[in-house]
Amino acid sequence: MAIPIDTADDTEGLRSEAFVVTMPPPRPRGALDDPLWVKLLVSGIGLLFLLLFILLPLLAVFTEALRRGVQTYLEALTEPDALAAIRLTLVVAAIAVPANLVFGVCAAWAITKHRFPGKSLLLTLIDLPFSVSPVISGLVYVLLFGAHGWFGSWLRDHGIHIVFAVPGLVLATVFVTFPFIARELIPLMQAQGRDEEEAAITLGASGWQTFRRVTLPNIRWGLLYGVLLCNARAMGEFGAVSVVSGHIRGETNTMPLHVEILYNEYNFVAAFAVASLLALLALVTLVLKSLLEWRYGAELAATRRR
């Protein structure tokens, strides 16, 4: 007789060895399985909701971008201001992501491999930027470095431009993406403990060798996962950079800001063309993220459970 296995219910149980040895008892099905009409209703509403709020907006981006044909689409992307925006976005991400990578690794090393007072306070502070509105993330740097900011007049006297210039864009981006990598690494390295590192050090490895040969191979997929999410946010950030950018075409416009300018000029096709590149970036990020989760799910488990 076939054992009734409700796959949806038992995927969790299959992972534990206990399940493999003991056979599931026969079940009172009425209480465990949703009636067919409930299944259809819940799936129908759920899928409609996802269609309406996720799939349609995504389709709209590409449809609007290609409305006037591929030729216009490509022209919109290769126009000098668009190219400048793409270049600036890449530059900002190329500074912000490595900076947060170094910070994330340092923070995770200090927090998970050592004990010191004030650790939970430090963890809370690292999470701070997640709970701050993007506009406020930009605002704080204007308050510091803007024309009427704390250091505004000093900066002006020395001819240093931060707000309405590239350094401001980098700072605001670093702020909003600050916790991403640390947040992936800390739970992962916490779960791995410090036995392996202690063994390596005891056997005579230096701190750096231990990190490179022992820790890094253990955390590489988690690290990549964090970098992926951090990069997506860094390239797509809008609110924070909008406040510090000053919207100078070809100079301080990142891709999302360029989308806004084009849209407000009713140049919809060009706006959606640039937007489609960002949407593509989001899709690639999702695909890579899912691949990492499926392939290295066990190694990322500590991260995903949060």
């Binding site: 709209a60 981006v61 509105s133 797509g236 809008f238 800001l257 989001a282």
Partner: protein, 285 residues
């Protein structure tokens, strides 16, 4: 280098481990945190002080500011509420049912995390504008979404969507089927099993996810400003008002609104932490 902080009193001294690098890594962490996060936030906390307490109160209680705060918090709350209902259904569907393309649909739930907010903003606007794919269906019914407060709710629903699904999903997956079996063999029907056994167990996660969606939506800017129409007193959100004040060089006024929002989101975050502690006790971890 080995983190020998001997100047510190004994109770503050770190516990000894053979692993080196505490001094270096903690030094980098604290310096970077201070420069990038703490110092700028200190400016936000101190800047409104130049207005005086009365000045801050006046800046925040102007009718236009109050209307914007009410819209930001109200639309965020409604969006989070919509996500609580439909997000639970999506999570249930993804955990309990089998259907084609399930993995793809599961993955695409995270899109609002990954899609830049400006892109989401213009996409939602083009959908819900009177001549858009969805807007033209609603227009004959007299429902206007784009350029009204309703549009703001659509945007807050969009960006909050993954929070509820991703918080409820793991809890549903970990639910022990023995509980449901017990309920079933004691004579409960499916609805009773759900409402009396399952729902109370996932309620803390559901509330946490809803609160996270709310907190994110309160400060949201990019996906809202395109669809909102930004009419003062009607469809103008608080973050936009901060931008407007900055453009008028009213730094202190902008900082006062920013500080109000920040304090509010800290209170929400505190609530989320309490909820999570409660849910951890609930699940007996």
């Amino acid at each position: 280098m080995a983190g020998r902080l001997t100047i510190l009193p004994a109770w503050l001294r770190p516990e000894r481990t053979v692993i080196p690098g505490l001094g270096l890594t903690l030094g980098v962490t604290v310096t970077y945190l201070t420069l990038i996060v703490l110092l700028p936030l200190a400016a936000l906390a101190l800047r409104p002080a130049e207005l005086g307490l009365g000045g801050i109160w006046d800046a925040v209680t102007q009718p236009r500011v109050l209307a914007a705060l009410r819209l930001s918090f109200g639309a965020a709350l409604l969006g989070a509420g919509i996500n609580a209902v439909f997000g639970l259904m999506v999570a249930w569907m993804l955990v309990r049912y089998d259907f084609p393309l399930k993995r793809v649909i599961d993955a695409i739930v995270d899109l609002p995390f990954a899609l830049p907010t400006a892109v989401a903003g213009i996409a939602l606007t083009s959908l819900y504008a009177p001549n858009g794919w969805v807007g033209q269906l609603l227009d004959p019914l007299g429902i206007k979404v784009a350029f009204t407060p309703l549009g703001v709710i659509v945007a807050t629903t969009f960006i909050g969507l993954p929070f509820v699904v991703r918080t409820v999903q793991p809890v549903l997956e970990d639910l022990e089927s023995e509980l449901e079996e017990a309920a079933g063999s004691l004579g409960a029907n499916r609805w009773e099993t759900f409402s009396r056994v399952i729902f109370p167990l996932i309620l803390p996660a559901l509330l946490t996810g809803t609160a996270l969606a709310f907190a994110r939506a309160v400060g949201e800017y990019g996906s809202i400003i395109f669809i909102a129409g930004n009419m003062p007193m009607v469809s103008e959100i608080a973050p936009l008002l901060i931008v407007i004040k900055l453009e008028q060089f009213d730094y202190a006024g902008a900082a006062a609104i920013g500080l109000t929002m920040l304090v509010a989101s800290f209170l929400i975050l505190l609530m989320v932490n309490l909820l999570q502690r409660w849910s951890r006790r609930w699940s007996g971890e």
